[in-house]
């Protein structure tokens, strides 16, 4: 056997050092949560905390085993390496096995895992406990956005006149349990708000429970995590947790309709355009909800987000675009430089979430979206999946935006 050359030794040592540094950096990075809105280690509610409390000891055990095995292998490769001075015909002691040792290291991991199993089963039970007086919300995935239906009057039906249908953003009162039921109108999606709980698939034809609760008001982001076709990457959502009184106000507002015509002339022409072009798929309560009640939901979505209270949301288009310009998080009165398609690549580059201030409507994004939706969020509009390019004139876009701005 040729002996290792110096160059190779140095190369090996460098690679080894890089890998050790890499893993150290990874462990450091794991604790850096700033600016990582989907981080799984920032629990914001009881369910995610429950999971966190289980995960950390499991990771710790895995870490100990990792260091132990790596350390043992490195030690062995160093200690028992063949040295240049060794006699090639001299052999180490021929050990064929030690049954006691073997049985020992079969049982030891089994015992460790039995310990992990106890914690796991307990956590599964806790996570599946039913909450009394939880708010019932049905979450339905469609290519490529989320619809929320609230059973406000608690009659077990999500489509009564006293119930709420909304999209993209889920508004919840902080500190109260939400009993989510996931389902889908087309393919399998997965509803995941990492700050509040693990994910749950939204399977067509099935209804699966998921408990959510946010401890404090704030915005909790999410992302569809079951591959659902073309724009899977663009299927996002958020949960906005607000105070109990804000929630009551939100519910009261959501129950209103927009039957009355806007007073502004431009917005009024926008409404005419809306009824002609958008009302086939979208709903605005008081304008075309009667028609939509009779519409059958096909398995390709075909039915688009309810726009009745569009302007009460912070994002749109599957939560990839800001409806309002970003504000300085330290001083909400300061608007950050308007997001610009050319500069940021996309108008929603920095998502703000729940900041609603009509004076800061992100017209750049809204107009770009109306101009050609598929350019921002790839879709199969011709197959009824996604918003088509309606070929709107700039004047029509201007009027439509004026109308949409009245939908608060």
């Amino acid at each position: 056997m040729s002996r290792r050359s110096l160059g190779l030794r140095i190369f090996g040592a460098v690679v080894f050092a890089v890998i050790v540094t890499l893993f150290a950096a990874l462990i450091y990075a794991a604790f850096q949560n700033d600016g990582k809105p989907l981080d799984t280690f920032v629990p914001g509610g009881p369910s995610s905390k429950e999971i966190q409390n289980l995960v950390i000891p499991v990771f710790a055990i895995a870490g100990v085993v990792f260091v132990g095995v790596m350390g043992a292998v490195l030690l062995i490769t160093w200690k028992f390496r063949t040295k240049a001075t060794d006699d090639p015909e001299e052999f180490p002691e021929q050990v064929h096995g030690r049954t006691g040792l073997e049985i020992g290291w079969t049982i030891l991991p089994a015992l460790i895992l039995a310990g992990v199993a106890v914690g796991t089963v307990a956590t599964i039970i806790n996570l599946n406990k039913k909450e009394d007086k939880a708010i019932e919300v049905q979450v339905a995935g469609q290519q490529w956005w989320w619809q929320y239906k609230y059973d406000i009057n608690g009659d077990g039906n999500f489509d009564g006149p006293e119930d709420i249908t909304t999209a993209t953003e889920m508004v919840v009162p902080a500190g109260r349990a939400i009993q989510v039921t996931t389902t889908s109108n087309d393919v399998i999606h997965s509803f995941w708000i990492p700050g509040l709980n693990g994910k749950k698939d939204a399977v067509p034809g099935l209804r699966s429970p998921l408990k959510l609760q946010a401890d404090t008001p704030g915005v909790y982001r999410g992302q569809c995590t079951e591959y659902c076709g073309l724009s899977h990457a663009n299927m996002r959502m958020l949960v906005r947790a607000v105070s109990a009184s804000d929630y009551e106000a939100w519910v009261a507002n959501q129950l209103k309709d927009h039957a009355a015509d806007p007073t502004d002339a431009k917005a009024l022409s926008g409404k005419t355009t809306w009824k002609a072009l958008c009302a086939q798929c979208h709903v605005i309560k008081g304008v075309n909800d009667e028609k939509m009640k009779t519409a059958k939901v096909p398995l390709t979505s075909g039915v688009a987000p309810d726009l009745t209270h569009l302007m009460t949301r912070g994002t749109f288009a599957g939560s990839i675009l800001n409806l309002y310009d970003p504000v300085d998080p330290n001083d909400p009165s300061v608007t950050l430089p308007a997001s610009d398609i050319a500069a940021a690549g996309y108008p929603g580059a920095a998502l703000t979430g729940g900041n609603v201030d009509v004076s800061r409507v992100n017209r750049v994004s809204l107009e770009a979206w109306l101009r050609n939706p598929a350019a921002i969020k790839p879709n199969y509009a011709q197959g009824g999946r996604g918003m088509p390019n309606l070929g709107l004139t700039e004047a029509q876009i201007d009027e439509l935006v004026a109308y949409l701005e009245t939908l608060n």
């Binding site: 056997m1 040729s2 290792r4 050359s5 190779l8 090996g12 690679v15 890998i19 890499l22 893993f23 990874l26 700033d34 990582k36 809105p37 989907l38 799984t40 280690f41 999971i51 289980l54 995960v55 895995a62 292998v73 062995i76 490769t77 390496r81 063949t82 001299e90 052999f91 180490p92 002691e93 050990v95 096995g97 030690r98 073997e102 290291w105 089994a110 895992l113 199993a117 796991t120 089963v121 599964i124 996931t182 393919v187 399998i188 995941w192 990492p194 693990g198 698939d201 399977v203 067509p204 034809g205 699966s208 992302q223 079951e226 591959y227 724009s231 990457a233 398995l299 690549g345 197959g383």
Partner: protein, 681 residues
């Protein structure tokens, strides 16, 4: 009567002076045994040539799948990448996964199983040599068929596990998923035929004295792997036939509107899919279990434990599939049950890791390239195994599944585990197969570069996943904290690609240098198992005579004796115990045949027919059925190749176990003994 085979010149001679009337009426002559050149590869039934073809084909598909991986990594280099459209990206990641699993890792396992397993058990060939050739051609044609989708409307876009109903014609109207579906049915037939063949071979064709518990561990793991294939592949095929019915003939197996439950597909896929994971990794475990003792210069620690843990993994692997479905809504009782079974499958896996570590303990370790890759497997697979344990904790998995944490996990298992083992196996067995060593210096550089690239690529994905990056997204936005680690991973992917190219360079470099070097000899590594006692490259007849086996590592103990206190003393010079190349004239080998390649060639035509025009199915069907007729009616031996000697005693210590299948093996035509063994051209 062979339908298109030419009349022989004389009567067929059989052992014991039996003669048989042989009156085929046909127009073609059967291919001659012992031919050389590219034509001989098309008709060969030699398990060694077939093994080499499996390996070479898999390496070509590795380059294709690797190119797809590079596209993925370039797209994700920065937020809102523009290299690929959403549609193209979805096709690329689907085909990357499918190619790597079905056309690279599984076939490399098959390459080693084909080439090595008959050698390790002291057999002449596999039990059904023509079926063996058929398996290979089905794999090749299935793989080519799958990849022609790129030219015929685009690749599959449903992800490698291709969930219903997104795989339906309504949601994926292009032909990509049809290609995926039918291509994998074809390669599935290849795996299934191979499984039956190799199981029969291991169970029936071992050399005298080779009891099951004297088999090399690679052979054991091959046996377990083939049983997994035998039972797993049909489940996938069932699911795929249902999907084909849905897509081609508008059946409603996965149509939710007609009352289907889409979880049916998930269950079927993962009942296949989880044993699939083990059947990809176990061959590599087997290779490492043979390599580590060689370079530690001491026996494997706890042979029975290594064997039985492999068998235990094979059994337990059937009871864990729903851990892929913890968030699918299967309910807390199922989640709990599968969470527990999944945890405990870590026990036999852990036993293997500890046994390998103990094998090295107290040894005299020689850090050759195969050894480095084997140690690479032990360490990198440990990382994958540990992240696997964190998935088994179902509540944790609800945060991790379908994120990059999962992507990191299975690449540590399948690349850090299986692939490191395979590359180690390539370096280890290259001299045996091709008669020249791969350059060691390049090999070690290859190892360190691959280790570096691998970790740079996949270690950051753990963090990306835990920080919420979903898998299968063609784009991500700034402001999620994904930028840095995606860049690191992309740099790593290019490093990894360069290490693969270095390996390929090493093959050609070493081949050109080999001409000026002395021949490697039968046993360049001072190895332990019996395949190292025959000449390198291996003669077509393998062993002459077939050895009688007295213990595990039989060859080692022909060279060395062990004293009572565990000391090793040389008892014979290696040159004196290895076999010399003989003329092999007295050895019966199965004759080559046209039919395996013809029969498999019809299958993709049937598949194209199902996609484009059902009349093509008729054409393909006629080819398949005609070829099968030819195959069935073809005599097992070549009447034109006469023997010089039919005395069974001439078969060395052959105790008759070799002759298990009169239809296929052993008592066949003579090998042209003057022929020089093949090297890859």
């Amino acid at each position: 009567m062979a339908i298109i085979e030419a009349l022989p010149t004389d009567q067929l001679a059989l052992p014991g002076a039996v003669t048989s009337d042989y009156k085929p009426a046909g127009v073609f002559t059967r291919p001659k045994a012992g031919g050389t050149g590219w034509k001989s590869w098309l008709t060969t039934v030699d398990h060694k040539k077939i093994g080499i073809m499996y390996g070479a084909t898999a390496l070509v598909f590795l380059l294709i799948g690797g190119f797809e991986a590079i596209l993925i990594r370039v797209q994700l280099w920065s937020p809102r990448g523009t290299l690929l459209s959403a549609n193209a990206y979805n096709q690329v990641f689907t085909m990357h996964g499918t190619t790597m699993v079905f056309l690279v890792v599984m076939p490399i396992g098959a390459a080693f199983a084909n080439y090595l397993m008959p050698l390790q058990i002291g057999a002449r060939d596999v039990a059904y040599p023509r079926i063996n050739a058929y398996s290979y051609w089905m794999y090749l044609f299935g793989g080519i068929f799958l990849n022609t989708s790129w030219l015929l409307g685009g690749g599959a876009d449903g992800g490698w596990f291709n969930y219903a109903p997104n795989n339906g014609i309504l949601y994926s109207p292009s032909h990509g998923i049809d290609f995926w579906n039918l291509g994998l049915i074809i390669t599935g037939i290849a795996s299934l035929a191979g499984a039956v063949n190799l199981i029969v071979t291991v169970l029936n064709m071992r050399a005298p004295g080779m009891t099951l518990m004297r088999m090399p561990i690679f052979t054991w793991m091959t046996l377990v792997t083939q049983f997994l294939l035998l039972f797993a592949i049909p489940v996938l095929t069932v699911a795929q036939v249902l999907l084909m019915m849905d897509r081609t003939f508008h059946a409603n197996f996965f149509n939710v509107a007609k009352g289907a439950n889409p979880l049916l597909w998930e269950h079927l896929f993962w009942i296949f899919g989880h044993p699939e994971v083990y059947l990809m990794i176990l061959p590599a475990f087997g290779l490492v279990s043979d390599i580590l003792p060689t370079f530690a210069r001491k026996p494997i620690f706890g042979y029975p434990f290594i064997v039985f843990s492999g068998v235990a993994i094979g059994f337990m692997g059937w009871g864990v599939w729903a851990h892929h479905m913890f968030v699918s809504g299967i309910g807390p009782i199922s989640v709990t049950a599968f969470s527990l079974t999944t945890m405990f499958i870590a026990v036999p896996t852990g036993v293997k890791i500890l046994n390998w570590t103990a094998t090295m303990w107290g040894g005299k370790l020689r850090f050759t390239s195969p050894m480095l890759f084997s140690i690479g497997l032990v360490t990198m697979f440990t990382i994958g195994g540990l992240s696997g344990v964190t998935h088994s904790v179902a509540p944790a998995d609800t945060q991790q599944t379908d994120t990059y944490y999962i992507v990191a996990h299975f690449h540590y298992v399948l690349f850090g585990g299986a692939f490191f083992g395979f590359i180690g196996g390539f370096y280890y067995y290259w001299p045996k197969v091709f008669g020249y060593m791969l350059n060691e210096k390049l090999g070690k550089t290859n190892f360190w570069l691959m280790l570096l690239g691998f970790n740079l690529t996949f270690a950051p994905m753990h963090i990306l996943g835990l920080q919420g990056m979903s898998r299968r997204i063609y784009t991500y936005d700034a402001g999620y904290g994904f930028d840095l680690w995606n860049k690191v991973a992309t740099i790593g992917a290019f490093t990894l690609a360069s290490s693969v190219f270095l390996f390929i360079f090493n093959i050609f470099y070493s081949r050109s240098k080999a001409k000026s070097l002395p021949p490697v000899g039968a046993d360049p590594w001072d190895a332990r198992t019996i395949e190292w006692m025959i000449p390198s490259p291996v003669p077509e007849y393998n062993y002459d005579p077939i050895p009688t086996i007295t213990r595990v590592d039989d060859f080692w103990y022909r060279k060395y004796g062990e004293t009572k206190d565990g000391k090793l003393v040389r008892i014979a010079a290696t040159e004196d115990v290895v076999q010399q190349r003989s003329d092999g004239k007295h050895i019966h080998l199965p004759s080559p045949s046209y039919w395996p390649i013809v029969a498999s060639f019809g299958m993709p035509i049937v598949a194209y027919g199902l996609i484009f025009n059902l009349w093509l199915c008729l054409v393909g069907g006629i080819i398949v059925v005609g070829a099968l007729f030819g195959w069935v009616l073809e005599p097992p031996d070549d009447p034109d190749a006469a023997h010089e000697d039919h005395d069974p005693a001439a078969h060395g210590s052959d105790d008759g176990t070799v002759v298990v299948n009169a239809g296929e093996v052993a008592e066949a035509g003579d090998v042209a003994a003057e022929k020089e063994p093949e090297t890859v051209g």
